[in-house]
């Protein structure tokens, strides 16, 4: 009996005995590469260690320690059970990598994404606004990115050798029919919307998703702000106008109401403009946006703007070299956009909305008047679903109605002309994105479009793929076919036209590591079915056809560094474009006026904490743009001198009367270079038989802007 008790007691005591064992080993992946920093834990305890830089570890075990577990983030855990205790043991853990997370590989070919995310690829919305050469204009800011050309006499987006009409703007997925302000030829227009209204900007220089169509070159996709956090009032005072914004933020609903008034008369009374204006450019505008949380999984966004503007100008009369014409422009514009986003049962996400745009322009030229109305309505619905297999599916439909009406009246002979049409467009699209084993993603889509006016339909395939080469680099490819209904200025004379089309081939290499990003992209765009007409018979429907074509190829380079210098960030963007096209009234295939061969942009910004200010400098250079000289043989053979602009700006943060304020100052073209954008020629030759040229330039050498923004 006593021996049994003794043996039992002995059993317990031995379990607490102090025998030690030394275990050494390594932790590697399946390729045999060591994993430093991996945890090796003794099962059932908190004792353990971490592997060193060679993936090796050493542990002292007690007799009761029988299980060792190795783990490292992104890998599956590995257990080893020790069957017997020897004084020293060597172990080898082999960890299996877990499948990549769904969102790790992002297709970047042809896309510059600027959303406010942890993994922002290029620019943040605030970065756009502080680009000195932009003067607060979204489109001006985009011209500091590769793929765009600075066309200062126009102000719209010209992407990779493409015309401005080939680039479309979308807000929350819906088309913005008139994203630019109305202006005269040779005078730059600007974007209608303040960059502060948007939290995300995706700038596609080509090869964009099947969700979007009717844009031969590029899509600018803007996302309106998410639910505002604070109730506040913002007042802006600028040398060109004033504005006020009131935001109310509640639990379920938030809205912002804004009003702005711009008038350049005070500014031009101080800074002399080479053009005589009457009235000076003035705009009155109202903005309303609202965000409603319908439920935990659904929300509704509303966005609406209205603006009224006018401008009067004395411009050379190209029919007679000594006189000028009075040009007067009045514009009324309204745009509204409503979207619903909601989670349906079993994982489907529905995004549906409509957009309405109304634009009315009256042009009063001395000899004739033009009265133009354009109404556009769009309905769109998209269903999205992500599956566990790493597949994302998208299906949608789009219906649009475009109504255009133009009236022409010539006072000399009381000639009247009216052109109008209604075009109903329908589109269906579908896209699949699939993660294919580790580090590779493929996206394939198709879009079918139909236009009632042209009575034509087209099917556009889209394809893109991305392969990650390492943790910090990837290559990406994109291919797509794009169709676009010809511009209204052409359709007012004839409807017997086909879609214009373009095929894109894009290859992209991207490297990104700790605050530095390098992008190299090369592309080839093949244009087909571009509309041509005879310049002398522009009013004759028979002279129009889709017999134009062209190509555009080039290289875009982008390098951005936010980490080498502690207080400064900078980026460099370079584009090379080789493009020729025969379209519109062009008699032959030539490099168009909006495709300069080289464009270089350098932007640097620095934050000085002691004076709470950010100072920025931007330098833009582009080679001379082509223009046509009727005095010379050939077509579009001449080039203007190169374009160069150095702009600076400063944003100073301070508290004024206890309120947060920003004082903003900027000067464009600080060196005062007289950039020439092109030449117009008088219609009648001089006494010596030559057509006199007229240089298209800015009204002022430099543009000064001072502004004060206060948040109450």
């Amino acid at each position: 009996m006593r021996s049994v008790v003794v043996s039992l007691l002995f059993l317990f005591f031995t379990s607490f005995s102090f025998a030690q064992m030394v275990v050494t080993g390594t932790v590697t992946n399946r390729k045999g590469e060591p994993i430093p920093g991996a945890n090796v834990i003794i099962g059932g305890t908190y004792r353990g260690t971490v592997t060193d830089s060679t993936g090796s570890f050493t542990l002292r075990l007690n007799d009761s320690d029988t299980v060792l577990i190795a783990s490292f983030i992104g890998y599956s855990r590995e257990r080893i059970v020790l069957k017997q205790h020897k004084p020293s043991v060597t172990l080898r853990f082999v960890l299996k990598k877990l499948s990549q997370r769904i969102d790790e590989v992002v297709i970047t070919a042809g896309t510059y994404e600027t959303a406010d995310r942890q993994r922002s690829v290029t620019l943040q919305p605030l970065d756009i606004v502080t680009i000195p050469s932009a003067a607060g204009d979204i489109y001006g800011a985009l011209s500091a990115l590769p793929g765009t050309a600075p066309i200062g006499d126009d102000g719209r987006l010209f992407v990779r050798g493409g015309d401005a009409y080939e680039a479309k703007t979308f807000i929350d997925g819906l088309l913005v029919k008139k994203p630019y302000t109305s202006s005269f030829p040779d005078f730059a227009s600007r974007g209608r919307f303040s960059p502060f209204l948007f939290s995300g900007t995706t700038f596609c220089t080509g090869g964009y998703s099947a969700q979007y169509g009717q844009a031969l070159s590029s899509a600018l996709i803007l996302t309106s702000n998410s639910f505002p956090q604070n109730t506040q009032t913002e007042i802006s005072l600028l040398t060109v106008g004033t504005g006020i914004n009131r935001t109310y933020s509640g639990k379920r609903v938030a809205f912002t109401l804004g009003a702005e008034y711009m008038n350049l008369q005070p500014y031009y009374s101080v800074v002399k403009n080479r053009f005589e204006m009457n009235p000076y450019p003035q705009t009155i505008g109202l903005t309303f946006s609202s965000h409603l949380r319908v439920s935990d999984s659904a929300s509704v966004k509303l966005f609406s703007t209205y603006s009224q503007s006018k401008l009067g100008l004395l411009y050379p009369d190209f029919n007679s070299s000594d006189s000028k014409v009075d040009l007067l422009l009045n514009n009324s514009n309204s745009y509204s956009n409503a979207t619903y986003t909601g989670k349906l049962s079993d994982g489907w996400l529905l995004k549906a909305g409509f957009a309405y745009s109304y634009d009315w322009n009256t042009y009063d030229f001395s000899y004739y008047d033009i009265d133009e109305h354009n109404t556009y309505f769009q309905l769109k619905a998209t269903l999205k679903r992500k599956f566990n297999t790493g597949t994302a599916l998208l299906l949608g439909m789009e219906e649009g109605w475009n109504r255009f009406d133009q009236r022409f009246f010539r006072s000399a002979d009381s000639f009247r002309w009216n052109g109008d049409f209604d075009d109903y467009t329908t589109a269906l699209y579908s896209e699949v994105e699939q993660k294919v084993f580790r580090g590779m993603a493929i996206r394939a889509g198709v879009r079918a479009e139909q236009s009632s006016l042209l009575n034509k339909w087209a099917v556009a395939p889209r394809f893109a793929a991305a392969v990650s080469l390492s943790a910090s680099s990837q290559i990406s490819l994109a291919y797509g076919r794009f169709y676009q209904t010809p511009e209204e200025s052409l359709l007012r004379f004839t409807h017997r036209l086909n879609f214009e089309s373009a095929t894109h081939y894009i290859a992209n290499f991207q490297w990104e590591k700790k605050g530095r990003i390098l992008r190299l992209e090369t592309y080839y765009k093949d244009y087909d079915n571009l509309v041509t007409y005879d310049e002398l018979l522009y009013w004759n429907a028979d002279s129009y056809s889709n017999s134009g074509s062209g190509y555009s190829r080039g290289i875009d380079l982008f390098y951005r560094d936010r980490s080498t210098f502690r207080f400064m960030e900078y980026w460099l963007s370079y584009s090379y474009v080789d493009s020729k096209r025969k379209y519109r009234a062009y008699p032959q295939k030539v490099r168009p006026t909006f495709a300069p061969e080289h464009t270089l942009s350098v932007v640097a910004k620095t934050w000085i904490p002691r004076i709470t200010s950010q100072i920025g400098v931007s330098m833009t250079y582009s080679s001379g743009r082509p223009y046509n000289d009727p005095n010379k043989p050939g077509f579009m053979t001449e080039r203007v001198p190169f374009y160069q602009d150095i702009s600076v700006n400063c944003s100073h943060l301070r508290k004024i009367f206890g309120k947060s304020a920003i004082i903003y100052l900027s000067v464009s073209n600080i060196l005062g270079r007289e950039n020439i954008y092109g030449y117009r020629f008088y219609n009648q030759p001089d006494s010596d038989g030559k057509f006199r040229p007229y240089a298209i330039m800015n009204g002022t050498k430099r543009f000064y802007l001072a502004a004060l923004f206060i948040t109450l």
Partner: protein
């Protein structure tokens, strides 16, 4: 016979005792490790304690050790001198905060430590000041909304204001209010739970001194 029964009873008590005290072992081990964070004199000691906290977190799958692991890593990040290496340490801390959030930890405390992580990011590169300072302020205001009596949230908000330039509404005069609020809340806590976050009283006192100078 009786002796066998008694022995077996003793044996059973010893056995069940070890199972019963498993939870108490976890709490004791975690509480000890937390104390070691404060008492660590060298960076190597702090690293060891940080690794121990990680092991406890991996073994137990509860939010508290992940919280304290993140805390120890943020402390370690301030001791490093290479910016890239410090960012990597903060990336690991972010992973632990994310894990603790997945395990439904104390929302206010997790928001507060998230804000501290943002502040640590600024100290690596001042260019990030504008974005991360805003993020930290927004996160802290949420932390205070969830629990207005969280002294750490008020202390960190005070730190945010203290380091904001005076011209923009910062500086010690404006930060003082938050440190005073934090001090009152620290003093009100008699006996804090040893595994819940309870740091900050000493640092807060130091900041109060600085603001009153």
């Amino acid at each position: 016979m009786k002796m066998i029964v008694i022995t077996i009873c003793i044996a059973l008590t010893l056995l069940t005792g070890s199972v019963y005290s498993q939870n108490a072992t976890f709490e004791k081990a975690l509480a000890d490790a937390i104390v070691r964070i404060d008492s660590a004199k060298t960076t190597a000691q702090l690293q060891e304690t940080s690794q121990l906290l990680h092991r406890i977190a991996l073994a137990e799958n509860r939010w508290e050790p992940y919280y304290h692991h993140a805390f120890s890593l943020i402390l370690l990040s301030y001791r490093g001198d290479d910016g890239d290496a410090r960012d990597l340490i903060l990336d690991k801390a972010q992973q632990s905060i994310d894990k603790a959030n997945e395990l439904n930890g104390d929302k206010s405390e997790l928001l507060a430590i998230q804000a501290w992580l943002y502040q640590a990011r600024i100290s690596i590169s001042p260019m990030r000041g504008m974005t991360y300072s805003r993020k930290a302020a927004a996160t802290l205001s949420e932390a205070i909304t969830v629990n207005p009596d969280n002294p750490r949230a008020h202390y960190l908000l005070g730190m945010n204001i203290y380091h904001t330039p005076k011209m923009f509404g910062g500086g010690k005069h404006n930060a003082l209010g938050e440190f005073v609020k934090a001090q009152k809340l620290f003093d009100a806590l008699r006996k804090p739970n040893p595994i819940m976050p309870h740091w900050g009283a000493r640092s807060n006192k130091k900041m109060l001194q600085r603001c009153k100078e």
